[in-house]
Symmetry: C2
Subunit: 327 residues, 2 copies
Amino acid sequence: MKESPLFWPAVLKNDGLNVLDETLIPEKIRYIRVKNVDGAVKVIREMKTRAFGQFLVVLNAFLLEIRLMDQKQLSEAKKLARIQEVAQKLNKSRPTFPFSEVTGIVARWAVMAIDSKLKISPFVKRNTEGYLESIRGKRLDRVNRIAAIIQDQDRILTHCNVSGELAMAAAICKTDKKNVSIFATETRPYFQGAKLTAWELGLLGADVTLVADNAVAALMADGKVNKVIVGSDRSCANGDFANKIGTYQIAVLARQFGIPFHVLTQPSDKIRSLRDIPVEIRHKDELLKFEGRKTIRGKCGAFYPGFDVIPHDLITSAIAIGVKENE
Amino acid sequence: MKESPLFWPAVLKNDGLNVLDETLIPEKIRYIRVKNVDGAVKVIREMKTRAFGQFLVVLNAFLLEIRLMDQKQLSEAKKLARIQEVAQKLNKSRPTFPFSEVTGIVARWAVMAIDSKLKISPFVKRNTEGYLESIRGKRLDRVNRIAAIIQDQDRILTHCNVSGELAMAAAICKTDKKNVSIFATETRPYFQGAKLTAWELGLLGADVTLVADNAVAALMADGKVNKVIVGSDRSCANGDFANKIGTYQIAVLARQFGIPFHVLTQPSDKIRSLRDIPVEIRHKDELLKFEGRKTIRGKCGAFYPGFDVIPHDLITSAIAIGVKENE
């Protein structure tokens, strides 16, 4: 399968973790070498990588630490303490993001090793690597499931970026001789649709057209799109989900114009409904400044909710990750 | 009444027409001195002023020409020919824009003068000045009617720019001790909401908050706005209207969330319905480039319809210009 650089944006090598600097795309394709947990915290805090990339950095930070611990030949007790310290550093890297769910799993493996009188390093390493591999398999599987719902002549609208999966599904469709075109919204204020989605779709040979965030009704009224596929940052047990700001209005418009609305969902047993998701209101300068320069003069407020929470009744289908294992 | 610079962006002085360069706002407030019809065509073609400003430039171009004709002491026949030539130059300045309706009126005055054995210069001058004055009166009147529908504690969403009228209505509300807040969408790709609307609202002392074009559903779902007021570029006899791209989706969202949607409309007897309005598809570089620099790499299309056409059933009320005279 043809792979997007955004599908797996952090790769462990012998001399460190290579993290794709998404802030430079599409101008430059550059990887940041991360050597230890402090480097991992830095790339997360500086938002060099987003969503799924941050998840990869968190897990790989433990693998980096295990290498360092082994070089130093620390005692098992010190290794346990060190793993717990790494977990805490990662948890603090982005207060509003629930890294603790992931770091908690790894920290528990370290405790399990001690309890079972196993060596911490190989046990945690094997489990972490296995966890990463299973996620990779589930995502590759979902790419195929996305490709399966796409039909010949489909004109798909997407928003923000779904970390490679849609681009790879589009590449599969191309191989299968399905003629597919994709519209990507710019996704203000960071233009992830223009900078990441349009870029990776082009890279994988898909037919891609950029639109402003405000052109969605025009597209739909003109019959220019017949399907919407978006990702999600959080999913709820009742089907509600959170995703990049702008997703909610696309969902309402899709309903209004009778266009199916598909969501790539996350594991969803932890949160009951969208009422339980606090929306992060980002600093107004993220809207009032463009590349560091203020775009407006005088006294002006700005309201920038980082994401939307969308009620489940607007969803046509949820394409969940890893359903086969849960079924 | 406190006046916005965008309410009357072209002012005739003794030494020429001062046209506000809207492309520099808010960085610089600079007026371009227009001396004759060629200068008028230039500021229109280079989009230094928009919509209503272009209308002002067209009418004032005739007043500039009359001054020049009088200095040269041309014959009445030559004056008539010259007026018709000016009308044609203005018509050609922006092919997709119906300037001919306005220039036709002035050209007819010149013919009427000849037919009635009146001097062309004073007759056309007086009529043009009177026409401008009546439009000014109608717009000032509408500012008061906008202020009248705004209530204490209103939270109003607007899109793109309505050439001063909303900002001036907000200033009236402030004088009347109505507590009003206004949300302005950025309005990609030219950011008229950020650069013009937020700026003029701030200038007139209104409480203004900028939002990305994709945050409208979030605003409405949270109860942050209770009224929408937008302008229109063209209005149809059946109530349909055309306005900046993004207006349609705001209208659909307002309906979905039960929020009243008000439109400042134009004279509407010429066009039957939105089916009779061709939508101008602008060049893709207007979306793919930002301040001359390409924002994306690789092969990517872009779709940028210049405006939306909105069906009348989404409108709560039309605030027409000059209704008193038509009633």
